[in-house]
Every structure is written in structure tokens, then in C-alpha cells.
Symmetry: C2
């Protein structure tokens, strides 16, 4: 299966680089576009969907844009359950698209920074995803990509509503922008609910690692705009950026407080998380995310070596059920997964055995 | 303070040697004796108690028996709280004696295998403690010691009741024999209560690591005879040995079952305990005992290297509050203790870094 190729490299957004990457895992923008003359996917015939898929694929493959060079073309109906879940876990397709049948597909760019879903809720859902807080840069990329595609594709547009979309919340610019924040100190100090309530009051949405309806595992919170009608892209991105920067400030203050007042407790928690991850023989995905979050906080607070950040980000995805199974290239039952997950984590972390300054001292 | 000398060596009973030492931490027998012509300590005047203490000390110091050579003579009223607790934690005095004032003392033999408490509930409480299951050998030692002391001391004895003691449960031989068993598999599989109920029905008592009223921490259970009147020493020791051997068989069966049916879960539990102990920065005494118990099971089941057994036994005592403070040679508040305990454990365990076969593989 060709998507196996994705396993060989790390998604760019997991690099742990970019501005504020100690608090912001990734920045993401997606736009919704529909092609004039075809019904929305929910109402389109299977034939129409196939036609749309083929049109988009031919436009992308004939594009000379460096952004799209070396892209992977995937047809959803050709994938088994594990493959579909694998793409969801890597944030390359939505859970909705993973349930789609004939006529739906996704085009994935070389570094997994761009994914174009075809026949999800709209004909095109174009997503750009980068590590760290860089919504403006992400917007620049997606805007260029939009322009590039619009050279050939005729997008449905109304002078009154802007870009037409299947769901009215996406009308206008059709843009949804989000940042994935890691807020362990606010959770630790039980300040998180206050902060999230304020965020929602400002018109933004808060979600977990896997979008709508997903639990906020691993102290990861996705903050995004709610609607796009009546605001231009710059306004949406600026509002989101402003709120995100505010939350970052709260989290940083809380981290400073923890270091000044609870350093020993935090060290204990971080090192024990490291201890569990490097010794467990059976571990669930849920426990893993929680422990990795604590490790990440340890890196951020200077308790663990900074080279661990990228590894922690990688493990966050590699230990998800479908990624794990793709890595082993066979189906695993839940118990086997918990065992293989523990093996994988131990291998990866023990190879990076110099975790922190104190652990070096211990070895004397 | 002279008891500091005890810190420099490991008590013999912690060696982890002797028969069945994978399941039996130690075997202990104590006898109660009183000197004719003096009231029991509960009724004796302070002057009388001082006299008794001095008599016993002079008898022991002038004895030519090799068992008593190099003994330490300790007066309880000269000890501070930490010192008293220190001796309780090392099983050298009872909690009762630790509360005694002028006129009470303890004589501790070179390897801590013998301790003679003076003016606890009786004038003399003579204890012999060895590692592993060797009640008969312990009895031989204590019998010799009894004979040696009786050469000079005139013990209160009635032809009807046997040796007279302050409490009627000790009448007769005045013997209490016990074995400290480590029964993690029976606890793990929730069979322990059934086994302990049967033990009590057979007329034996079940206690925790620190005797009467103490919690059964670390899956450690002290099994002892209840009364001594009407039975001779051999009967008491044989009954106890028989029951202990029965319990050992149950525990071994359960361990075999765990290895055959739940190996991965047990490995996970053992390695995680190792992970917590080698990474924690703050750890209570209670958590420590629990984790050390799991490590001990890991050694017994061949998951961890066998050289760890002695270290686990040692840590069981060294991490107790007063032993910890004696080790640091200053008073520590509970928070400081939890931190220093974690440091001590890490130092000791990381120095023994080759914990198990799998961890070596991990290092590749």
C-alpha cells in the first residue's frame, strides 16, 4: 500500500520547531471550496464525485507549483480500516472522510504540510499544517495554493456570501484556522477551565487532539475560529493569534510559578513519567498521551534534554493504534497493540538514553 | 551516638539468604524471662529496674559465649526519638520498649541476630532473628543463649506454669516464634484472605511488617504462634513451620500460575515499579515498601537479576523514616525525608544498573 511511504519520514508539523513550539504543537488552516456546476458531495451522485476527484487530481498533478511536487494521491475506497485510521491519526484526513466510499480521496504533499481532501463535506477541503505558532505563514501558503488551484478550477462563489460551502458555518472565506496548544501547567494548577471558558466567550472553539468531540488528552487543546461568514481572513487569523498569545502568556506564567514554587513535585512527575515510559511492558494509547505530555513539559521546563521534544511529538502519533499497526505492517489486537506500543516507546526512548542532566549524574 | 555503628553494616537477617529466602524474609523467635525476686517491669520501681538492667548487662558482658561477643549495650533513656525509632525499624526493639524510660535497655549482638530487651513487658525479652526460613536453627541459638544466661541468672519458674511472664499468653515456654513471609502472588490474585483466615483458624496470628497492629505493607505477613502455655517449644515451632510451608506452597503455586498465564502483566508491573523507584524525586515510605515488594517478586520470578534481592531487603529498612535520618545524621521533616528517600533509592538502584536481562537488550 502506497501510504506506507508516510511511515518513513516524520510529518513536518511534528518537528517541534517554529515560533513558540514549546507551547504550540502546530498551526493549521483549512479552506472549503466547491466546484461550480456540481452538487455538494452530500447530494452528488457517485458518478459526479468520481468526476470531481479526477478533475482535482489532474489539476494538481499538472500543476507546476513546488508546493504540490511529489504529492501522494490516495483513493479512500482503496484503503482498509487501518489505513483510513492511520491518515486520521496523522491529521491528514478528517474522521468524516475516513468513512467515505467511492469518489473520495486525499492528496498529500511531500512533507505532509498540505492535504487536499476531495469530496468530504465540500468538494475540496484544503489544509495546511505547520509546527509551532505560524498562522500567518500557514495562511500565506494556503492562499497561494488556493490561487494556484483557482487558475484552473472554477470555484462556486457568491458576491453576497463569498465562497459557497455545504455548511453555512463555512460560508464566506470558508476558512477554519486553529492552533494546537500544550497547556500542562494550566491543567496542573486547575486554571484551565477558566481560561477555556474565556476563550469560548470570545467566539472561539476548543477541542481535543482529534478535533470535534475528541477528549482533551495529553493536555492538548485545539483552539479554532467558530464561523467565517462576515469576517475576512486577516481578521479571523488575527483574532485567533491574539487569543492564542494570551493563553500562551497564562501558561508561561503558570509554568514560572510551578518552577518557583513546586519544582520538586514537577521534577518528580516528569521523571516518573519518563520512568513509566522506559519500563512499561503494556501501555494504552491514552496513558501514553498523558505521559508524553508530562515529558514534553519536562523538556519545556529544562528538566529533560531539549532533543527529546521532537521524539515526544513523533511518539504522540506513532503510538496511535493505526500508526502502530502500519509500523508493524499487520493487524494487532488491542492487547498486542499495548505490548508493541510499550516496546516501541522503550526502543525509541532508551536509544535517546541521555534524557536529562540529573540522569547523567545518577550514572556516576 | 554509639548506635550509629549499626548503619555501617547490613543486619544479617536482610542478607536474603537461608532456606526459602525468596518467600521468607526472616525467622524470629523470642522468649520472655523474668528474674526471681523482682516485680515485673510494669510494677517495678525505677530503682529495681536499674538494678535489673545492670545485672543483665554485667552477666552478658562477662559471658564468654561467642554469640554475645562485641555486643552493643544501649540505654533507652539516652536515645532521642529518631534513635528509638531507628531500633524499632531494624526490628531490634519493640515499639513498647521505644517508649520506655530510665532502667530499660537493649543488648544487640554483633550481626544484629540477637537482641536482648531489658525491662520491656518482662525483665528479659530475648530475640534471635535470621534470614530465610530456619526456625529450628533460630531455636537452637536462642536455647543456647537461654542456657548461657541461666548459668548466672535465676529465672522465675513455676512447675505448674513454666516460666513466669507478665502476660499470661507468654506463660510456659514464654516463646513466640514467627516468620516474615512475602506473599505478592497471593495478594495479586486476591487469594490472600482465604489463606490468612485458614492460618488464624489454626491458632496462629497474622501481622504486618512492624508487628501487632501494623498494616500488611509490601505484601509482607508475619505469621506467629498465639500462645505458649501447654505446648513445648518443639510443638510450637513444628506447628508454625508446617503452616508456613503450606502457605509457601500456595504462594509458589500462585506464582507459577502468574508466570504461565499473566507473565506480561507481571513483567509490566515489576518493570514499572523499577521505573518509579529509579526516577522518583519524592517518595513516601509506604509507596516505597509497595514498590520494593514488587521488585522482590520480580527477582523471585527471574524478571530481575538475583543480586537485587539483598539490595531490596536493605532498602526496605534503610528507607524507613528513622533509618533515613540516621543515615543523614540529622532530623528531616517529612517532605525532606520523601526527597532524600528518593535520592537514596536512586543512588542505590542506579549503581546496580544492570537490573535485568531485558534492560540490557534495551541498551543496545
Amino acid at each position: 500500500m502506497k501510504i506506507q511511504v508516510l511511515l518513513k519520514k516524520t510529518s513536518e508539523w511534528l518537528n517541534g520547531t517554529g515560533p513558540e513550539s514549546d507551547l504550540v504543537l502546530s498551526s493549521r488552516i483549512r479552506i472549503a471550496r466547491n466546484i461550480k456546476g456540481f452538487r455538494f458531495p452530500g447530494k452528488a451522485t457517485s458518478e459526479d464525485k468520481k468526476k470531481i476527484l479526477s478533475i482535482v487530481e489532474s489539476v494538481v498533478s499538472s500543476s507546476k507549483s513546488s508546493m504540490l511536487k511529489g504529492s501522494l494521491f490516495v483513493h479512500i475506497h482503496e484503503l482498509d480500516d487501518v489505513d483510513r485510521q492511520f491518515l486520521v491519526e496523522r491529521h491528514l484526513i478528517s474522521p468524516e472522510l475516513s468513512n467515505a466510499s467511492t469518489g473520495s480521496g486525499v492528496i498529500i504533499s511531500n512533507k505532509e504540510t498540505i492535504s487536499i481532501m476531495i469530496n468530504e463535506e465540500d468538494h475540496l477541503r484544503i489544509q495546511v499544517l505547520h509546527s509551532g505558532l505560524q498562522l500567518k505563514e500557514v495562511w500565506k501558503t494556503i492562499d497561494e495554493l488556493d490561487t494556484e488551484l483557482e487558475k484552473t478550477l472554477d470555484f462556486a462563489f457568491s458576491s453576497k456570501f463569498g465562497y459557497l460551502t455545504a455548511c453555512p458555518t463555512n460560508l464566506g472565506t470558508g476558512i477554519r484556522a486553529s492552533a494546537m496548544l500544550h497547556l500542562p501547567a494550566l491543567v496542573y494548577s486547575k486554571q484551565i477551565n477558566k481560561v477555556l471558558h474565556a476563550t469560548v466567550k470570545l467566539g472561539l472553539a476548543v477541542r481535543g487532539l482529534y478535533g470535534e468531540g475528541s477528549e482533551a488528552l495529553g493536555n492538548l487543546f485545539q483552539i479554532s475560529n467558530q464561523a467565517s461568514l462576515g469576517m475576512n481572513e486577516t481578521e479571523i487569523i488575527e483574532t485567533l493569534s491574539k487569543v492564542v498569545r494570551q493563553i500562551i502568556m497564562y501558561e508561561k506564567n503558570q509554568r514560572r510559578y510551578l518552577i518557583n514554587n513546586n519544582l520538586k513535585e514537577v521534577e518528580d512527575r516528569v521523571w516518573r513519567a519518563y520512568g513509566s515510559l522506559t519500563t512499561a511492558r503494556i501501555i494504552t494509547s491514552k496513558e501514553t498521551i498523558g505521559l508524553l505530555s508530562t515529558l514534553r513539559m519536562g523538556v519545556d521546563l529544562g528538566i529533560l534534554e531539549s532533543h527529546l521534544r521532537k521524539l515526544v511529538n513523533e511518539l504522540l502519533i506513532l503510538t496511535q493504534p493505526a500508526n502502530l499497526q502500519k509500523n508493524f505492517d499487520r493487524k494487532l489486537n488491542p492487547t498486542e497493540r499495548d505490548i508493541e506500543r510499550a516496546n516501541l516507546i522503550r526502543q525509541k526512548l532508551v536509544r535517546n538514553s541521555k534524557a536529562g542532566k540529573e540522569s547523567k549524574e545518577d550514572e556516576k
